[in-house]
């Protein structure tokens, strides 16, 4: 029998600390599959965020650095500029990337340094127990919006990908999801493109992945998928937002 699916080489056999059904695991897998397919495992350096994926280095079979909360783009800059032949990627949550690290990602994108970012948007702070993220939706109840996110009080949800399209240095910005096989396949293409771009020296590339946090949303993994489709996807439309290869 031929093998249809097996654990990618670039993943370790460690069991993740992620909650049941958490999309972090799927996103990890896609990244690992892409690293395998591109044959770059021995020259890839990943950067783990502060967030549920803080221990990402336990799950990837490649060199990894930690980064202070939000500063993965800066750490990536230090790693990449000193070793331009290496493939450097950051893996960041919405608190990490969109909140505390907003300046760093904006400047990385605007500079256009040749780095890849995987951005996990689960509309919440998973690691710290479910507080509002910049991407939390109107009305969403979280640990810090106990009465629901009120736009007057808590401000508006942030569309990071749309904002970053306005930067000169972004080569590729896309938003995917992983809630069914079709989207898993589409999103994997995006991830691959984002890595391929770096190999081709095209500049900053980012894939935002709409993800569930069943635990902090207070939903079962399957209900969480439905909530994502009903609430997140309409507000954060999927698709390629910028692609210098297409735009030219």
């Amino acid at each position: 029998m031929k093998t249809v699916y097996k654990k990618p080489e670039s993943m370790t056999s460690a069991t993740t600390i992620y909650c049941p059904g958490c999309h972090h695991g799927i996103a990890h897998r896609l990244v690992a599959e892409v690293i395998d397919e591109l044959g770059i495992a021995d020259r890839t350096i990943g950067i783990a965020p502060v967030g549920c994926a803080a221990l990402a280095y336990d799950y990837f079979n490649v060199d990894f650095s930690e980064a202070a909360h939000g500063r993965a783009p800066a750490v990536a800059t230090g790693l990449k500029l000193t070793q331009p032949d290496k493939i450097v990627f950051t893996y960041q949550g919405d608190g990490d990337l969109a909140s505390i690290g907003a300046a760093e990602i904006l400047h990385l994108a605007n500079r256009g340094f040749n780095i890849t970012t995987i951005f996990i948007n689960n509309a919440i702070y998973g690691m710290t127990g479910g507080q509002m993220a910049p991407t939390s939706l109107e009305g969403q109840k979280t640990a810090t919006t106990p009465f629901g996110r009120d736009l007057k009080i808590h401000g508006n949800p942030m569309k990071v990908s749309e904002i970053l399209t306005q930067t000169a240095g972004a080569a590729y910005i896309a938003r995917g999801a992983v809630y069914d096989p079709k989207h898993v396949m589409e999103t994997k293409k995006m991830v691959k493109k984002a890595f391929q771009n770096q190999m081709d020296g095209k500049g900053f590339s980012m894939v935002e992945i709409l993800s569930t946090c069943p635990t902090n949303w207070g939903l079962s993994p399957l209900d969480a998928v439905e909530w994502l489709k009903d609430n997140m996807e309409p507000f954060y439309p999927l698709g390629v937002k910028k692609d210098i290869d297409q735009d030219q």
Binding site: I17, Y18, C19, P20, L55, T215
Partner: protein, 177 residues
């Protein structure tokens, strides 16, 4: 007198509420008391546990390293805490879920099929109160009445309607030992 207690089980088993109830009741009986959860990454999927210390004096160490008492609601918790128990400690084990016996010979073991007993009351969610009621009788650290009275303090506003059924569970557990 100082009583060092560990309550442990899976996340959804109401371990923290059980601990808080014990702490409230002790406070209502005029004792010094502390409650502290073990917090951290290990919580996810692993065991949840909390320390309760009840004392006549200032509590020196709220985190219980060597419990004299414990309520063990699942197997991983038994594996984790059995070796840590103080000599001759009292250990209450939820045999509905825990699939092995306590190995240490010095311990004073109470085996109770909490889930099954709770199911008789209509829902396995009351297993924690069954356990606590039994613990109350066995140890005498706290009065059953105080536990029952304190329930309103630990149930959220939305759940006040569950006071009565939880009181029943406490009583049932009390009777079972």
């Amino acid at each position: 007198m100082e009583h060092k207690i560990i309550l442990a089980g899976f996340g959804g088993q109401g371990i923290m509420v059980m601990g808080r109830l014990l702490a409230y009741a002790a406070m209502h009986e005029g004792k010094n008391v502390s409650w502290i959860p073990s917090y951290g990454v290990e919580q996810r999927g692993g065991t949840a546990n909390c320390s309760v210390v009840i004392s006549d004096e200032i509590i020196a160490a709220p985190i219980v390293a060597e419990p004299a008492y414990s309520i063990i609601m699942n197997r991983p918790s038994l594996d984790k805490f059995e070796p840590k128990m103080a000599p001759k400690g009292v250990i209450l084990v939820n045999t509905s879920i825990v699939d092995r016996d306590v190995e240490r010979k010095d311990l004073d073991v109470v085996n109770l099929a909490c889930n099954d007993e709770a199911l008789e009351l209509g829902d396995i969610r009351y297993a924690n109160m069954i356990a606590l009621g039994a613990f109350c009788k066995k140890t005498g650290i706290i009065k059953l009445e105080t536990l029952k009275k304190s329930l309103k303090n630990v149930l959220s506003a939305r759940r006040q309607n569950l006071v009565e059924i939880n009181q029943k569970a406490l009583e049932k557990g009390y009777q079972l030992v």
